[in-house]
Symmetry: C2
Subunit: 250 residues, 2 copies
């Protein structure tokens, strides 16, 4: 059985996130339904990780068992013919039998997009629309507190498994403005549930002078899931890229 | 009673077009509901013209009766606070009492956007996604047939009122490519129902070598509503701008 690795992109607006769920439609379920039509049998699809409801992906990675005689390019074309237009397969390739979309991942890049543009009816599902200007100098002061290896319990959901490690490493955060838009790019080993949205929520609170930049440090040190009351909305978040193999981030 | 002119933009994806309808939700109805909350009485909103279901607008113009003591800027802010985020008021101003969004209009600019990009999950509601490359040189040959004053019966809907004039003038058509996208910009006195989508449909048929460029001329001369069997889908179409007063297009 060949193993196929696929890079996929999706507009998360209409879905309840990646994962299969009981009462809602996840992207995984749609993807598995499409794949079943090609493989003629049920087939599990494993992603690098979940994305939450309304969160988008430009470079999610999945793996699944392929059928002999169907090439990666044929999988790409067949899947794109069956999948709804808001879920696209960007690339398929044969993967090593040991490849695992989640366990082989060595890092991820996420982007969070905000905008001051209150008058664009086409962007509200794709950006966090901000009321009022932010003090971006204060945000730039706060960003470095997140870089490095930390216990991110204070920036995570109640729902995460208490047995799982909360220690994660953030290699790089780029914060920049382009016209009316603000971008936060995060590269790290991996992220806890809600971690990026809570980090961005805290940074936006800094930009609104609700908290001082140094408050980020205190929140991290608290290792308390109630320490950060901020959570930026999902529609600004994009899973951009998943890294495999040895990566040199510095 | 002051008269207010407003420039509005909307993502048409979720609406059954501009006009109020019996069995579906038009943008006009939503706009009038929002306005009623400000004026405290029912208030009709008149647009420069209809847009069809799923057609977008970046510069639709409307007029409505304002209440004394509410400034245009207050109307803009209050409407944007009440309207859903896919309908935005870009600008409001006091209009002359003789101003009429439809009857005072002297021209309109529409844009139709196509794309070869089959792999972008974020664009399918905003562009006509094309399967296969077009012969753009043939399209450039065909475009000039539409320019000037013509009876556009062959490029119009069955539904249009037979008593209304079918003669329209197209001042300018710009056809250009940008990356994987193709743009058709039309400036004219006004357009019949489905006219732009049918003209674009015919131009795409030329680009696919289904018809020769000169077939456009024959279709126009036929003045027969069955002459053009092509109709490009609505999601690529944008009402960009409505012109008032004397305009010099050449």
């Amino acid at each position: 059985m060949p193993k196929i690795k696929a890079i996929i992109a999706y507009d998360g607006s209409n879905y309840a996130g990646w994962q299969k769920q009981i009462n809602a439609l996840g992207i995984q379920e749609i993807f598995e339904s499409a794949l079943k039509k090609i493989n003629h049998e049920p087939c599990e699809v494993t992603a690098s990780g979940r994305t939450d409801a309304k969160v988008h992906a430009k470079g999610q990675v999945v793996h699944f068992k392929g059928r002999e005689g169907i090439s990666p390019l044929q999988y790409q074309k067949a899947l794109n013919g069956i999948l709804p237009l808001d879920i696209r397969v960007i690339e398929c390739e044969n993967a090593d039998e040991n490849f695992h979309a989640r366990f082989s991942a060595t890092g991820k890049r996420y982007r969070y997009v905000c905008s001051y543009n209150l008058l664009d009816p086409f962007q509200f599902k794709y950006k966090n629309i901000l009321q009022g200007r932010l003090d971006t100098e204060k945000i730039k002061e706060a960003v470095p507190y997140f870089i490095g290896k930390h216990d991110f319990t204070s920036f995570s959901s109640n729902k995460i498994d208490p047995r799982k490690p909360r220690e994660k490493t953030i290699y790089q955060i780029d914060f920049f403005e382009d016209g009316q838009d603000l971008y936060f790019d995060f590269i790290g080993t991996g992220f806890l549930r809600y971690q990026i949205r809570m980090m961005v929520g805290a940074l936006l609170a800094v930009g609104r002078h609700k908290i001082e930049p140094a408050a980020i440090k205190n929140m991290l040190e608290a290792k308390d899931k109630h320490a950060c009351p901020y959570n930026a909305p999902p529609q600004g978040l994009y899973l951009m890229e998943v890294y495999y193999g040895e990566q040199l981030f510095f």
